[in-house]
Structure formats: structure tokens, C-alpha cells
Amino acid sequence: MVALVIAEHDNAALKGVTLNTVTAAAQCGGEVHLLVAGSGCGAVAEQAAKVAGVSKVLVADAPHFADGLAENVAEQILAVASAYSHILAPASAFGKNILPRVAARLDVAQISEITKVDTPDTFERPIYAGNAIATVQSTDSVKVITVRGTGFDAAAAEGGSAAVETVSSVADSGKSTFVGRELAKSDRPELTGAKIVVSGGRGMGSGDNFKILEPLADKLGAAMGASRAAVDAGYVPNDWQVGQTGKIVAPTLYIAVGISGAIQHLAGMKDSKTIVAINKDPEAPIFSVADYGIVGDLFEVVPALVKELG
């Protein structure tokens, strides 16, 4: 039994969620190989070879892998798929986009967003926005799986010494072209991987008011997030959204400011280790999941909190 993990990267560095996926792959019981499909991605392959628990790194390096186009990457995975019992990718925009194509072509089901490996063919996954957890057993010969990063610890980034093997690249499908990318620039940690997250909701009142969360996030080295209500109101960009339809986070500390706690938001953060809620409404549902709550005006509480942190 050998599992293949599809590495997510930007041709310069491996994305952290790949490491959580490696842990899930290792729990499937056999060896773990990593596939790095990219363009000029030698540095990524070197990093991949050092990941603890990985015994081989396959590298497919070609210009048409530069931007992770699903058509090309899926075809590359299929070209090496026959050697594997399990094929796993992070349940990120990258992995979700590509892996179902692989499953369909292999004529097997995909098991999406697993949070636990029970046995090599039985997995747990949330359904109904996390309101229920299904335990599913695959009857297919190959298990194609996307992995929710927050369900698994990250494998150590150092300590391994895998062999790196270059595989021949499949041809460009020619059916899709990458046009461009607008990524938000930020010095803060990435939302899904951050140890501490400070999120604001509709209670912030405006996009400008989000500025009062910045000193708090700076002090704690936290990523900044938001509820869907705040995103829909246009206060902050889409990619800040934490929730069922946004990002799923599970930091050690989650601070919800002016967030009422709609089910859809709770689905995205309720696995955080410690939750703090700051809200002026003592009846807000967020307090039912918070370890520590402060009832009060966020415009007074947040600056006071920053001061108290020193």
C-alpha cells in the first residue's frame, strides 16, 4: 500500500496544508510519496524531500503546470496513479478543484474533506456544514481523498530524506489558459494556518472600523478573519471569510469580535482550541461556543484588551 499526496505549492515553497495531508496519508497505513507538479519548482521538490515520513518525491516540471490548472495537473496525477492505493490532496481551493477529475477518470468515488482516518478504507467527514459527522467506507480499489487540514497535525517539515525522481510531464491540454491572479498582500500569517485568529463581524459597523482590530492582531501575531455578514456588507475582502462557505480554521485561539455566531460561521471555527467572544448582546449564540466571553461595546473592549496585553 502506497499513498500519493499531491503537493500544494506556488513553485517557490510548499504550502503548509500539504504537511497536514501527509499526516493523513501516513495514517492510511503505507508509504507516502509526494507529487510536485509545477514549473521551475526545484526548490519545492527539495523541501518536499525533507518532510518527515515521505519516502519518495515525484517531480513533473513543465511550463503548463505553473498555475495549477486542473486539466493539466489531474492528467499528470493520472499518469502516475496506477502505483497507488490512496491519492490525497488538501481540501483547499487547489485540491478541491483537481481531485474529483482524477476520481472520475479512475471511476472511483471521492471522499471529500476527511477529518479522521479510522482504517485505510474508512474515514470520517463532516456533512450538513458540520452539523453531522458521517463515517464512510470506500468499496473502491483506489481511495481518492481530500483532507481537511484542521483535522490532522502537520508532519514535520524537516527530518526526512526522500529520493527525488523526475517523471515525464503530460502534454498541455490546451483547453484552459491561466489569465491572471489577484492575491491579497498581507504581512500577517495565512488565515487557515494561523495559531491565533482575530475575526470581526457585522458588529464592526464598517470596513474602517476593522482598523481597531489591527493592533490586537499585531500584538498577538494573529491572522485576521471575518464573518460572512461582514464580507457581504463589503467591510472586508472575500478571502477573509471564516465559515461553512469560506475558510475552515482551527487555531489555538480564536477571538470573535462583534460576531453573533450564525451556524454558518460556527461551522468554520468551532474546532478552535480556545474561543473568545466579545459582543454587546449577552444572548448572542457565539457565547454558547465561547470558552470566555465579554459582554460589552467592542469599541471599548478591544482597545482595553490591547492595552492589557501590554
Binding site: R101, A109, S112, R181, L253, V289, K307
Partner: protein
């Protein structure tokens, strides 16, 4: 140009589902059912493309029980010209649905298939990508903007950390994200008109498709409950608790 819009009948997004006590699934008897919200966005987008003169016909399709006809009628009230129900009482997984849709696409020959990025019941996020693979078509998932011109479709996608734009040759698959558009309210005259639009019912067997599930659901359980904590009187107490009790800062 013809557009196919696959839709799914799901438990309404406002309903908080309950897990059955025997762990066999969630209880959906007597709960409100609606069109999957992402599919509503797909129909709205197709309808806007038609209103903009880029599309001539919209066909809404669904797989499911007899009552899924209502979902198709809603689709026709939004803007679909006709509906196809692939009727089955059995549970079909995304791979099975993708096979059914491939058979329909082979028959209908659409240039574009727009569907929701995921259904809010099983949260699989697979059908569009699987269908694209089976048809050998390119795909743009998680769309927040769709521009159709000169034999290609240019799609802005919501990805981790921002937006990405891809251009696809037609025929192609687009899956919708929340911010693509805001679906219109369905008006009474349109509901009445929808009742007169053609609705065809077929069986998966008629399409020669095997939709046998590949996954066995062994158990469905409630997620671990998080108990409510305490309210603290001031920030000093909060910081002290975070430092000494929770030890997270």
C-alpha cells in the same frame, strides 16, 4: 447557444438538521426542501446570459425523487426553458450524478454547463469537476464572474488568498460560488408560466448509466458538542485566564 444547469433538491439552508438516534443518517422527513443555493446562483447566471443575448436555451436537469419536479419548476420560474428529471429513489453519489449528466450532455449537446460548486447536504464539491473529466471538457470552479464571448468563457475564480482568472475553450463547465450573483425573487406570474413549460421524466437505466454507490455510510453522528464557557467581567480577567488557564498566549 444551449446551457445545461444541473440542480439539486436539498434540505433548506435555514433548517438545522437532526441526526437520527439510530445513527443511520439525518432526519429529513417533514423538513422544508429547497433548491441548493449554489444551483440557484447557477440558474440566475444562465438566465442573465440569456437575457444578455449570449444564450438561446436553458435546460434545467435534476436527479432524484418525484418531488424534485418542484425544484425544476422553481428553476423554470427563474428562467429555465424546460426541465429534465432523472427519477430515482435511490441515493446517488456525485460520480453517479456526473455519469447521468454526461449521458444527458451527450444527448443535449450544450456548449456550457453551469452548476453549484457544492450541495449543502453532503458538501462533496465534486460533481462539476467529475462531469468535466468524464466529458473531457475544461472547468472553472468557484466562479465569481463569468464572461462569455468569442467561443470562450473567461471566469474569475475565488481561490485561497484572492482571485484567479482562467479562460476556457467551449464547451466548458463552470461551478458557481456565492458571490457570482444574487438570484432574483421568483414572481407569481413566472411561477404560473413555469407550470406550462415542458418537463420530461426519465430513469437512469434509460440513459444506460450505472449509479450504484461506491461508499457505504457506516454511521452518522452528532459532532462533538462544545460546551459554553464563562463570561468574564473585564479584559484583565480575560488576559489572566488566557495566560494561566487556557495557556494560549
Amino acid at each position: 447557444m444551449k446551457v445545461l444547469v444541473p440542480v439539486k433538491r436539498v434540505v433548506d439552508y435555514n433548517v438545522k438538521v437532526r441526526v437520527k438516534s439510530d445513527g443511520s443518517g439525518v432526519d429529513i422527513a417533514n423538513v422544508k426542501m429547497s433548491m441548493n443555493p449554489f444551483d440557484e446562483i447557477a440558474l440566475e447566471e444562465a438566465t442573465r446570459l440569456k437575457e444578455g443575448g449570449k444564450v438561446t436555451e436553458i435546460v434545467a436537469v435534476t436527479c432524484g425523487v418525484t418531488q424534485a419536479q418542484e425544484t425544476l419548476r422553481t428553476g423554470m420560474a427563474i428562467g429555465a426553458d424546460r426541465g429534465i428529471l432523472v427519477e430515482t429513489g435511490a441515493e446517488i453519489e456525485p460520480l453517479g450524478v456526473a455519469k447521468v449528466l454526461k449521458a444527458l450532455a451527450d444527448k443535449e449537446q450544450p456548449q456550457l454547463i453551469i452548476l453549484g460548486k457544492q450541495a449543502i447536504d453532503d458538501d462533496s464539491n465534486q460533481t462539476g469537476q467529475m462531469l468535466a473529466a468524464l466529458l473531457g471538457w475544461p472547468q472553472a470552479t468557484f466562479a465569481s464572474k463569468v464572461v462569455l464571448e468569442d467561443g470562450k468563457v473567461t471566469v474569475t475564480r475565488e481561490v485561497d488568498g484572492g482571485l484567479e482568472t482562467v479562460a476556457l475553450t467551449l464547451p466548458a463547465i463552470v461551478t458557481t460560488d456565492l458571490r457570482l450573483n444574487e438570484p432574483r425573487y421568483v414572481t407569481l406570474p413566472n411561477i404560473m408560466k413555469a407550470k406550462k413549460k415542458p418537463l420530461e421524466t426519465i430513469k437512469p437505466e434509460d440513459l444506460g448509466v450505472d449509479v450504484t454507490p461506491r461508499l457505504k455510510t457506516l454511521k452518522v453522528a452528532e459532532p462533538a458538542k462544545r460546551s459554553a464557557g464563562i463570561k468574564v467581567p473585564d479584559v484583565a480577567t480575560l488576559v489572566a485566564k488566557l495566560r494561566t488557564e487556557a495557556k494560549v498566549i
